[in-house]
């Protein structure tokens, strides 16, 4: 299953590392990654692939916990929803 992960928050050292480490721990593979600073806000977008055996809810909860700990807004949504709204 493919999903889109977005991370928004105040820029600081180690965000990419923290998120990437957490994903590795959860056995979630990063397929694509883009990152930029928008008006001082750290904004990262990733496309990831989640193994069928891994529970989506587990990934989502771990990431949201990481978000709370590091004061970042992390959300993950299955990729199809973006295609549905944006593609004919």
């Amino acid at each position: 299953m493919k999903a889109i992960l977005t991370v928004v928050g105040r820029d600081k050292t180690g965000i990419v590392a923290a998120v990437a480490n957490k994903l590795a721990e959860l056995n979630v593979n990063i397929i694509d990654i883009s990152q930029t600073l928008m008006q001082g806000n750290f904004t990262m977008m990733m496309m990831v692939s989640i193994d069928e055996s891994t529970k989506f809810d587990t990934v989502k909860n771990s990431l949201s916990q990481l978000g709370q700990e590091s004061n970042l807004d992390i959300r993950i949504q299955r990729q199809e929803i973006f295609d549905a709204t944006q593609k004919l």
């Binding site: 889109i4 977008m45 989506f56 949504q77 299955r78 929803i81 973006f82 709204t85």
Partner: protein
């Protein structure tokens, strides 16, 4: 996939409050009919809890995986006046309680279908059902009811209009808040997933999934980008936005239908507000260029909005249905409430707006001493607008027992609060008491 597209979708959901307002499972109860009321109710409970056992679970899973909020999970059933008619029960309160129990056990928010369809006349079950409404809706918390009193093909049942004025009063006497569970329709549609008017028509399949979607915030934000441009651009912008919003509904409906193994019925693309900031239909009208909703031009702006929403939505999904268009419930729209409190919006203007909007006089509080005949008069006016113009109209008004103009009725949550609005106090009693049936309109000389 383009970063821009991803960001846009995320923004639509998180900042502009785009949501799936409801996933509604329509369930036919025709096969539960029994001459023994008790047995019928057992069958109803069993069918509801079997068909809808995974409804809430599936909806919550979609919410979690796709990150799109699904505000309500609902059930609509065959009008109880039909299902209960074969029984010898004197009233149908027990049927409402069975529906309530099933809804509560399943964890669904609302269950609609405590309904009678009497545009042409009453059958055995219709009279009993209508008489049971005040008690049934007062003694249950999730049941919604509706009565269809008119249609373009059969005219307006003035006897029913008269009776419903009194029913609304009786319901309000117990608690005005109960009135939000009752709608009086003309030209009611059978696949509408929005409460309180949802019921599962007899022409529908045994079990279907209907989706109601809403996104006033997304439309408002899109219009902010075209400030000052000609009105054609406004219409075009609304169409494009409605398209995207409807795609989301189609998508969610498809997934839910697969997961539940139930055919997908329709997407009801509606702009339905909530009392939350940035989730208001009135704000869209003001963005189009009105100083306040209620100003001259409001009806035209609403007509444009309603039409553009339908045009945009139709191509985005396989089957559009329900009421698709803009809803204007006063209590559920923060900007509407403001306009009423500021004296910019009155019932007469709202009535005019209902000629071009999706439904009708919705969630409007009126003084507690308003007579049953006056309420019947308001119902008759709305029914006439619907019947003559070949569209659905409805009345959901709340006589605020013991309150007067300037007071407020609190509903809580999505239903918001309604300022009590003044009503013309000249009596229509002689008209209403004539009873009988207003003939159906002639449609061969349309102009």
């Amino acid at each position: 996939m383009e970063t821009h597209s991803i960001l846009e979708t995320i923004q639509m959901i998180s900042e502009e409050k785009l949501d799936i307002r409801t996933i509604t499972m329509g369930i036919s109860l025709i096969d539960c009919i029994d001459s023994d009321g008790e047995k019928a109710r057992q069958k109803i409970y069993k069918k509801l809890t079997t068909k809808a056992k995974d409804l809430v679970k599936v909806a919550e899973q979609i919410e979690s995986e796709y990150g799109i909020p699904i505000v309500n999970k609902r059930i609509s059933v065959t009008p109880i006046s039909i299902v209960a008619a074969a029984s010898n029960d004197k009233d149908y309160v027990a049927f409402a309680k069975t529906m309530d129990q099933a809804a509560s056990d399943l964890g669904v928010d609302l269950i609609g279908g405590f309904t009678a369809l009497v545009p042409k006349g009453y059958q055995t079950g219709d009279g009993k059902l209508i008489q049971s409404i005040p008690q049934a809706l007062s003694e249950t918390s999730r049941v919604c009811g509706s009565v269809n009193v008119g249609s373009t093909r059969s005219g307006i049942n003035l006897d029913a209009v008269k009776q419903m004025g009194q029913v609304v009063k009786d319901l309000a006497a117990v608690d005005p808040v109960n009135c939000m569970s009752l709608v009086i329709f003309a030209n009611a549609v059978e696949d509408n997933p929005f409460m309180a008017g949802a019921f599962h028509g007899v022409g529908e399949a045994d079990c279907v999934i209907n989706v109601g979607i809403s996104g006033p915030g997304v439309v408002k934000r899109a219009l902010e980008q075209v400030k000052g441009q000609p009105i054609d651009i406004v219409s075009e912008t609304i169409k494009k936005t409605a398209f995207k919003v409807t795609r989301m509904g189609q998508f969610v409906g498809n997934i839910a239908s697969k997961a539940l193994n139930v055919p997908f019925g329709i997407v009801d693309l509606s702009l339905a507000p909530t009392p939350n900031e940035g989730d208001s239909v009135a704000e869209i009208l003001e963005e189009i260029g009105l100083e306040s909703v209620g100003a001259p031009g409001t009806t035209a702006a609403l007509a444009l909005l309603n039409d553009a929403v339908k045009k945009g939505g139709v191509m985005a999904c396989e089957h559009v249905g329900g009421l698709s268009g803009a809803f204007i419930p006063v209590s559920e729209d923060a900007e509407m409430i403001r306009a009423v409190n500021a004296g910019n919006l009155n019932i007469e203007k709202l009535e005019a707006m209902t000629a071009v909007c999706s439904v009708g006089l919705d969630m409007i509080a009126i003084p507690g001493d308003t007579t049953a005949e006056t309420i019947s008069g308001m119902i008759a006016d709305e029914a006439a607008i619907g019947v003559i113009n070949n569209k659905t109209t409805a009345v959901r008004i709340i006589p605020a027992t013991g309150k007067k103009v300037g007071d407020t009725v609190e509903f809580g949550g999505l239903f918001g609060q309604a300022p009590v609005m003044p009503v013309n106090t000249n009596s229509p009693a002689d008209f209403i008491h004539r009873g009988g049936h207003i003939p159906s309109p002639i449609h061969s000389f349309k102009n």
